[in-house]
């Protein structure tokens, strides 16, 4: 029999395993790869993690609620493209400006988030009201929304956003660009929501046992719908950030990020069965992915090695999940 303090410690370590892995990986890379250990590299990792990180929040919430959202990448691209078309001044951009000029920042943000929320609401309607399978609904959205992006852009790109928006990607605060701070703040806010509010508690319980929550009088359909709208809106925010980072948008913007987001969510300890997972772990998962990505870049290896490692890591994460469960069962 172990004491409750030891047990709490083991539980804590299990809960934060991905952070420990991140620390080990960073330590190993810093010691073995020349030039890895410098502030610029770490800042770069955090900056790169912004888009997949933000997107992964929405994905994690939907997955914790016991569902699936494959549409986030295309939703992000659509929001980025609409931001680009409306507010970029070159290419297909129509260079919409506002007086005062700074108003363009909240306006573009609002539009990007709203676009994402609309896609999310459509997914929610099909899943909750029409009772279609979430995998199929969001796979379809993944395809048709990307199609829409190509259609409205004609395959061309929009460039040059106004400096009133662009500064978000350029200006640093404590070395870290403002857009990366947006991602960090999002993680803090949504971690709070998931842990400390009834909404987060109910989402987690729905993922664990939807029937029980329904019997308890929790409005399951409504909350599941909200989770999809949230995922869409957050993807819209990710798209806005991506448009700012690239100062515009191209039709194939963000292709492949869905898989990184999924990998991050799984590596971060979110169970695809639903009901289990913590958002800080997901952020650690994203940072871990981009730490490895950066290491491979620095070593001058071709980028596809990242993909191989990523695939291996996802498998390892699932195996680890099973191992963690066994340890917990022994504890109880």
């Amino acid at each position: 029999m172990i004491s409750s303090r030891q047990r709490a410690l083991v539980e804590f370590l299990l809960d934060n395993l991905v952070w420990i892995m991140l620390a080990i990986v960073l330590a190993v890379f810093s010691l073995t790869i020349p030039n890895y250990f410098q502030i610029g590299i770490f800042v770069n990792i955090i900056e790169q993690s912004t888009f997949v990180g933000v997107m992964a929040i929405g994905l994690a919430i939907v997955v914790i609620a016991g569902n699936m959202d494959l549409s986030i990448e295309s939703t992000m691209a659509l929001s980025a493209m609409i931001t680009g078309i409306l507010f970029a001044s070159h290419g297909i951009g129509i260079g919409f400006t506002t007086t005062p000029a700074w108003l363009v920042l909240p306006l573009s943000l609002g539009i990007a988030v709203a676009v994402g929320a609309v896609i999310g609401a459509l997914n929610a309607w099909l899943v909750v009201k029409v009772r279609m399978n979430a995998f199929i609904v969001t796979l379809a959205a993944f395809i048709w929304v990307r199609g829409l992006v190509v259609a409205i852009s004609g395959g061309r790109s929009a460039q040059d956003l106004a400096p009133e928006i662009r500064f978000m990607a350029i200006e640093p605060f404590l070395y870290i660009p403002l857009i990366a701070w947006v991602a960090i703040i999002c993680f803090v806010i949504f971690t709070f929501i998931m842990r400390k509010t009834p909404f987060g508690r109910h989402i987690t319980m729905i993922g664990g046992n939807a029937v029980a929550t329904f019997r308890a009088g929790i409005r399951v359909d409504r909350l599941v719908a909200i989770s999809f709208v949230l995922a869409g809106a957050i993807s819209g925010l990710a798209g806005w950030l991506l448009a700012i980072r690239t100062s515009g948008a191209t039709a194939n913007l963000g292709v492949g990020m869905l898989f990184n987001a999924f990998a991050a969510v799984v590596i971060g300890g979110v169970s695809l069965k639903g009901g289990i997972g913590q958002l800080p772990g997901v952020y650690a998962g994203v940072l871990l992915i981009y730490s490895i990505h950066t290491a491979i870049n620095l070593m001058g290896l071709p980028a596809h090695y990242t993909q191989m490692i990523l695939g291996g890591m996802v498998l390892a994460a699932v195996l680890l999940d099973t191992a963690k469960l066994q340890i917990r069962q022994k504890l109880a």
Binding site: K196, T197, P198, G207, N209, R215, A216, I218, I276
Partner: protein, 262 residues
């Protein structure tokens, strides 16, 4: 002793599924503090009846008088708000969260900070600790996820939760099917304790020995009708089995009101 209105009166409840008559006029009473065993063969209509009582299904016709008022519940949430709840095996708990979260499922204590509802973990923990201790249930840690608890502990949580939230009538669907001997014994004791607090308990079971151990009355459903409604001391397991299989049909307790307030 004054004649008390029953907690729940079912009056000629019917339910059709298309051309199939699942219930063909079911009538019986449940008193406060009474444990009723609902018996019957598979397909006799027990589950349909339980669902109608707890708001999961609507009756095709008939009346239900609960707590002195004519009611029909359109959803489990509505029935629950009135104080009727079905405790299913495992189905009413979220095993991925801890005991406290389950206890307060859908009724979390919150405090608004700038309009945002924030969970009050300490207050909820204290309330659960008190309720569990009062009920004489032992659970190692209220912060343990329910998935690590035994079947008996889970059932204890569900029943304690029900009592804590002011439940009046609890329906237990095969409560001991997955439990061991010792856990079953404790479960039966718990049912008696719950009933002693004036709560009506309906136990749906196949196991005659358990029905006779815990119930004050046996109600047998057969082919959508009440085939028997007898007090425990007036009957025997053999007789009840004959009612279930259709060899005997007795409705004595209908006239003979059960003694209240033991």
């Amino acid at each position: 002793m004054t004649e008390q209105t029953p907690l729940l009166r079912l009056d000629n409840i019917t339910r059709n599924f298309g051309a199939i008559e699942a219930l063909r006029g079911v009538s019986f009473d449940i008193a406060r503090g009474e444990v009723v065993a609902l018996l019957g063969d598979n397909g006799a209509g027990k589950s349909t009846l339980v669902k109608i009582i707890s708001g999961g299904l609507e009756a095709s016709s008939g009346r239900m008088i609960f707590d002195g008022e004519e009611r029909m519940f359109n959803s489990p949430a509505e029935a629950k708000a009135a104080g009727i709840e079905t405790v299913y095996q495992d189905l009413s708990l979220c095993t991925n969260v801890d005991v406290v979260a389950n206890f307060f499922m859908g009724r979390e204590i919150v405090k608004r900070c700038f309009g945002i509802p924030v969970l009050q973990e300490k207050a909820m923990y204290d309330a659960v600790e008190k309720a569990i201790t009062n009920a004489g249930t032992r659970i190692p840690s209220l912060r343990t996820n329910v998935e690590h608890l035994s079947g008996g502990q889970r059932q204890a949580i569900e029943l304690n939760r029900f009592v804590h939230w002011g439940g009046k009538l609890v329906l237990l669907d095969e409560p001991f099917a997955a439990l061991g001997v010792e856990q079953t014994r404790r479960g039966l004791e718990m049912i008696k304790r719950v009933a002693a607090q004036g709560i009506g308990v309906v136990v749906i079971t196949h196991i005659m020995a358990q029905a006779f151990q815990v119930a004050d009355r046996m109600v047998v459903i057969r082919q959508g009708k009440v085939a028997g409604d007898v007090r425990r001391e007036d009957t025997s397991p053999d007789e009840v089995i004959r009612m279930i299989t259709g060899e005997a049909s007795i409705g004595r307790a209908q006239e003979k009101k059960p003694q209240l307030h033991a």
